[in-house]
Each structure stands twice: as structure tokens, then as C-alpha cells.
């Protein structure tokens, strides 16, 4: 079996993987990182969301071999204010979708910082789109929550996004 070098949460692992093994199965079955969940295994729920070089992707539709050399971050490698905010705002009930929600939200905030628009953005040419509830809901639509904890999820993300924005203003003013 070919050796695949996967870099996960800062550590490089050499794994013997057939090319058909998904990144999700490599993480869960081969590395024991079961924080990343398998909901649908078809790209339709977002439970398997991880970050590849900081970009959110669905690990279930990713072949592990294709992600050699990329820096994979799973929930086990995350330390983010989003985690406390999800607790504070009841952003979950059973918790099954939560690791995917948090990885997705990290990727989403980075995309927003990079001026990526969404399908509900009013003026695509304008930059600096405000993260309203509608923007957060659209940008997070790739993560389903069967418990319907959406209100708490949006509130948690909004709080962290607001704190980010507030932190950015003095930093930029000081330059």
C-alpha cells in the first residue's frame, strides 16, 4: 500500500492508505481523530468540515491522497473563542454537527476577512460586507443541524465576528 504523508494539527503522519480512502476516514479510522463527524458521506450536511490550509472543505468527498502536503486542521487542533461562544449561546443540542459548525465558522470568518461575497450580498462589487444574520445564515448553509440550534449558532458566530471586527479597528488605527 502506498504511503501517504498527511499533516494534521501540526503533526506529520505517514499512513498506508489505498487511494480510495477519504480524508474523513483517514482522520477517524486511521488517526483516531473522531471529533470530525460523518453525517451523510455525500457532501450534503457539513458534519465532516475540516480546514485545509485554513480553507473549509468537506472531508467526506476529499480523497486523503489528494490532501498530501496540505495543513489539515480538525476540531482537535482548534482553540477558538467560537467554542466558548457556542456554549454560551446554546449553539448545539446533541453536539453531532458542532465540530463541523466550528471548523466551518472559522473558515467562514477567514473568507469574510478576504472579502468573499455570498449569494445574499446586495452589491457584489462593494467590499466590506457586514456579517448580518442573513449573511451568516447563507454563509453557514453548508452545515445542517438536525437539532435546529441555528439561532444559537448564528448568535455565537455573530458575537465572535463582532469581537474580531472590534479588535481590528484599533489595530488598524495604530498603524
Amino acid at each position: 500500500m502506498p504511503a501517504v504523508l498527511l499533516r494534521v494539527n501540526g503533526t506529520t503522519h505517514e499512513l498506508d492508505l489505498e487511494p480510495q480512502v477519504s480524508l474523513l476516514d483517514a482522520l477517524r479510522e486511521h488517526l483516531g481523530l473522531t471529533g470530525t463527524k460523518k453525517g451523510c458521506d455525500q457532501g450534503a450536511c457539513g458534519a465532516c468540515t475540516v480546514l485545509a490550509d485554513g480553507v473549509r472543505v468537506n472531508a467526506c468527498l476529499a480523497l486523503a491522497v489528494q490532501y498530501e502536503g496540505r495543513e489539515i486542521t480538525t476540531i482537535e487542533g482548534v482553540a477558538s473563542p467560537l467554542q466558548a461562544a457556542f456554549v454560551a449561546h446554546d449553539g448545539f443540542q446533541c453536539g453531532y454537527c458542532t465540530s463541523g459548525q466550528i471548523c466551518s465558522a472559522i473558515g467562514m470568518l477567514a473568507e469574510h476577512g478576504d472579502d468573499v461575497p455570498s449569494a445574499v450580498t446586495e452589491h457584489l462589487a462593494a467590499g466590506g460586507v457586514e456579517l448580518t444574520d442573513a449573511e451568516i445564515r447563507e454563509r453557514m448553509s453548508g452545515n445542517l443541524c438536525r437539532c435546529g440550534a441555528y439561532n444559537g449558532i448564528v448568535a455565537a458566530i455573530k458575537e465572535v465576528a463582532g469581537a474580531d471586527a472590534a479588535a481590528r479597528v484599533p489595530a488598524e488605527a495604530a498603524r
Binding site: P19, Q20, D41, L63, A119, G142
Partner: protein, 331 residues
Amino acid sequence: MRSFAYVRPPDVAAAVRAVAAEPDAKFLGGGTNLVDLMREGIERPGTVVDVTGLPLQQIEELPGGGVRIGALVRNSSLAAHRLIRTRYPMLAQAILSGASAQLRNMATVGGNLLQRTRCLYFYDGAAACNKREPGAGCAARDGFHRGGAILGASGACVATHPSDMCVALAALDAVVEAESVRGVRRIPLAGFHRLPGDTPHIETELAADELITAVELPASPVAAHSRYRKVRDRASYAFALVSVAAALEVRHGAVTGVRLALGGVAAKPWRASKAEQALLGAPATEESFRHAAEIELAPAEGLPGNAFKIELARRTIVATLRQVLTQGGAA
């Protein structure tokens, strides 16, 4: 999933040679469609040629104002690009209304063009499906066909092409560039996807060993005033029931430029040429929009579960044109 050989060629020449050499080889882009279909056993390549490392990742402005998009540009990068947001807002909106952010981060332009239908029976190996198995029959005709075609369908197949991006590309006169061991050729997007006829398993003009290398958009001043509108069963992360890409230019109350294409209605992104002809020179009014929509949908045929899409398509055409007229484009 059937086991397969995985190769990662260093350049385009090696990639096209690798697929030409193996009759059951396939190119792999972001994998969001191919990996899913391989897991279901619908696609069974013996060799998978990963092209995501190839140097086809640029978005470049062409002399004259057009844009050349490398086939491996991710859907998310294309939608976020300044040139696309300002000059072709319908394209940015179309991409952003498809799939989810995670999937758009993975999906490539080439893979989006070649994504296969979401017809349930195509995905269900136990069901009769002429597209999967020519001659087997079509379970959708008497089954669940809400997502099915109302234009250009055949007795053999009523599947639709699911791409949002391609609807905007059809409206924008995009050209697909493909390379194989035989050389490079250019295929207008309007003729890239095929209607099913008796051969629904043949979906595009592309040969199995041809690599999509780029998509080119010609300069189009009218495209700056454009929008994409998608109607679906939930507000996000769902395929289109009907979608409309529309660009409109109006002078002194008359239509001087128009581009119109429909999604969710046929096995190909449907360029609404008849409606465009009817609109050119006509007063930019609700009546003209409705008239044009009626002309385009005149040959439409519905099945019990999707006939509602005929009127839905007419209304969505009118609503999208009205929105461009009153609010301008999405830029």
C-alpha cells in the same frame, strides 16, 4: 468503492497522455461529484488522474476586455474575483448560489462543467436508467421527476443538468478550451452539453480523453448589468427547480441588449435565444418580458410532477428582468 490507481501528473501533456493510455481512466478535479459517484458505484474508473496540481489556476484579463479562466480555478475563487464581480455579476451570483461554501472551495471550473445529473434514479444502481445503462428504461418518467426537464427532454431521459455556473456561462457566450493528445480545440458552451435524444449517456461534446484547460468569456458590456435568480425548495444549499441568468441594457425605454439563460429546465444550460430575439428593440416593460418568456416556453412539456416549472420559469424570467431593470445588476 472500486479500487483504482491514483496518479498526479506534473503537467498538462502528461495528464492527457495518462488518460489517453487507459480506456477507464478519469480526470479528478475537486472530487465533489466524482468521489460521490465512485462511492455509489456509478462511476468506476480504474485510474484516477488528479489534475488539481496542474498550472491552470489563473484568471487573466484578455486584450479587448474578456477574461480567461483556468480550468482548475476553484468555484469560490472565481466567484470572489474582482473582474467577475464587476463585469459578469450574474456569474458570481450563479456560483455563489450553488452547493455550499465548503463544496465551492473544493470544486473546480472543469469539474463543474462536467458534473452529472442529480436524478435520483441515476444515483440508484437498482433503478432503471438509460443514462447509466443504455436501453434499461427510465424510472423517472413514471416516478419522482420534480427536478426533471421541461425543455429538450426525450422519451429516453428527462434529466436536467444541475450546474448553476453553466447557466451564466451559457448566457455569456463562454468558450471551453480542451486539450488532448490530438491537440487543442475550442467548444462554444452553447454547444458543449447535449440534449438526450436516444443517447442520454452521451452528455457533452467532449471526448473522454480531453482535458478542459480553460473557459473564456468574451467582453460583454451588457453583462455588467446582470443578475442570477434561483428558485428552489429551500433558501440555500439546494439544486435549482428553475433559475434565470439575465443581463439587460435599456436605452430610451427600449431593450438594446439582452442575455438570457435558464437552469433546471433541460439537460443543458438553456440559452433563451427566442426570448432574446423577441426582446431586442421591444419596450422594456412587464408585457414584453412576459411575451418573451411565453415564446421561449412555448415548446415546453411537463410531466405530472414537474409541469409547474413551465409557469415558474416564465415568472422567474419576468421577475429577473424586472429586477435588473429596476435595481440594476448585482454589481
